[in-house]
Amino acid sequence: MKITALLVLKAAPETSDPVILANASDVSHFGYFQRSSVKEFVVFVGRTVASRTPPSQRQSVQHEEYKVHAYNRNGLCAVGFMDDHYPVRSAFSLLNQVIDEYQKSFGEAWRSAKEDSAQPWPYLAEALTKFQDPAEADKLLKIQRELDETKIILHKTIDSVLARGEKLDSLVEKSSDLSMASQMFYKQAKKTNSCCTIL
């Protein structure tokens, strides 16, 4: 489950191409010579998908072996390239977060952008590495995972408590036997002590 690239674009009206505002991609698993072409491919497909995504809509497109998820919010569009295993919901919550973060850090400055911005946005790069695990992006997934782990632990606890119950049962039996035996012992001792007239 990996993310290959994340893009933030300004989705212009249909007449022109979307403008790339931030770009982060992880091409380490491609060979050295393919990296630039993969980057171009990412840029191009990102532009196409962003231009086709209507505002306030989410869209997922299957392209070769990648799923491309796009979320357009009032002209600011975030596009993510993930493989097939990445859960769709986590992808979209990740895009949500990216857009929120971008709006917080850059305000409305992006509306005036006319050409691709070249400076990298460090948040996007670290988001790319952080969110390779879908549980990080999607709180629900994380909660579900933790709950499952807790359930497993609880099951083990219940098993051990049952074993403890069995041991306690055996202990109670042994202790009742012991108390019976001690009672007999006391009676015997009393009996030998009572009759004094021997001979």
């Binding site: 086709r52 919901r89 629900l140 099951h155 049952l162 001792a189 001979l199």
Partner: protein
């Protein structure tokens, strides 16, 4: 005898045949009138051949029914084989094939059981009364023939099923090849020569409706590759947008639905966890009671043992003192003295 089933010999026995038909007619008519139960076996010699003939005809009727059923099954099987061979990549009648398969399987199993019944009937006939050697061999041959035919039909059925599974496998491979072919064409060059053409071809075989709609919209907008005027592009794009919008709303819903479903899952998991905790608490409280009982038992034991120890200590004390002994000796001496004095004085 009548004409044998199976391998027909070309001996002209028509006269014999007619004679026996006459006897049969004579025998079955009073048979129906007297209502003799077949296999009854009692009565005189006349009833014996009659019941034998009745038995034989019963046997023959059953064998005929079975043979007919086997024929029908093999016909259905040939139809199934044809269907299995014919099925192409896009048009295969899976449901019909499955229905036919189920029907044929049922028929084969019923035929099997009928054949076993037939054999049992024949055995019972053989045991009950004496019949000629010819009839026994004849019936044995008939049963064997039917069994062989049934076995052939089953074998054919198995072959057809294997053929069908192979066909399905081939179809799957072919389908994969078709869907991955365009991707192979486009992954090699990340060239800008025909990017728009490659993208729709790649998205086409995607199994998701919205993907296909986006591809159709992209192909429709491909027809307006920025060479033509804007006026012509807008109606096409509007239409594609509408298409996209229609598919977009379900996608939004699916996204929301998936989030809602995840929330429900989390909620139900939490409920289960609370159940588990409650059970845990119950069990621990029950075990707490048991622990209290154990504690009481041990206290009782301690008290008992202490009492017993004190008793034993007193006993030891009483044993270790000599006072009683001296008193006893004294009494014994006094007794002797008394006796001595009594005798002497």
């Amino acid at each position: 005898m009548q004409a044998r089933r199976g391998q027909s010999s070309y001996r002209d026995r028509t006269d014999e045949f007619f004679g026996i038909v006459e006897t049969l007619r004579r025998s079955t008519a009073p048979d129906a009138a007297n209502n003799v139960p077949y296999g009854g076996g009692g009565g005189g010699r006349r009833e014996d051949p009659r019941s034998a003939v009745a038995n034989q005809s019963e046997f023959k009727k059953r064998a005929a029914v079975i043979g007919l059923a086997i024929n029908q099954t093999s016909q259905k099987l040939s139809k199934l084989a044809q269907l299995a061979k014919r099925s192409s990549v896009f048009d295969d009648p899976t449901r019909e094939i499955q229905e036919l398969t189920a029907v044929i399987k049922q028929e084969i199993s019923s035929l099997n059981s009928a054949l076993i019944d037939l054999q049992a009937v024949r055995n019972s006939h053989n045991d009950e009364r004496t019949i000629s050697r010819d009839t026994t061999t004849h019936s044995a041959t008939v049963v064997d023939d039917l069994k062989n035919r049934l076995m052939d039909t089953t074998k054919e059925f198995k072959d057809v099923l294997t053929l069908r599974t192979e066909n399905m496998k081939i179809h799957e491979i072919r389908r994969q090849r078709f869907t991955s072919n365009p991707s192979k064409e486009s992954t090699n060059p990340f060239v800008r020569q025909r990017p728009l053409a490659s993208k729709p071809a790649a998205t086409q075989p995607a199994p998701l409706p919205w993907a296909s709609s986006s591809s159709s919209s992209s192909s429709s907008s491909q027809l307006v590759p920025r060479r033509q005027g804007e006026a012509e592009s807008s109606p096409l794009l509007q239409q594609s947008q509408q298409q996209q919008q229609q598919q977009m709303v379900p996608l939004q819903d699916t996204y929301m639905e998936s989030r809602a479903e995840a929330l429900h899952n989390v909620e139900s998991t939490i409920h289960e966890l609370s159940n588990i905790f409650t059970q845990l608490a119950t069990m621990v409280s029950q075990q707490g009671e048991i622990a209290i009982r154990i504690d009481q038992n041990m206290e009782d034991t301690l008290a008992n043992v202490e009492g017993a120890q004190s008793q034993l200590a007193r006993y030891l004390n009483s044993i270790s003192s000599n006072r009683w002994l001296m008193i006893k000796i004294f009494f014994v001496l006094i007794a002797f003295l008394m006796v001595f004095l009594f005798f002497v004085a």
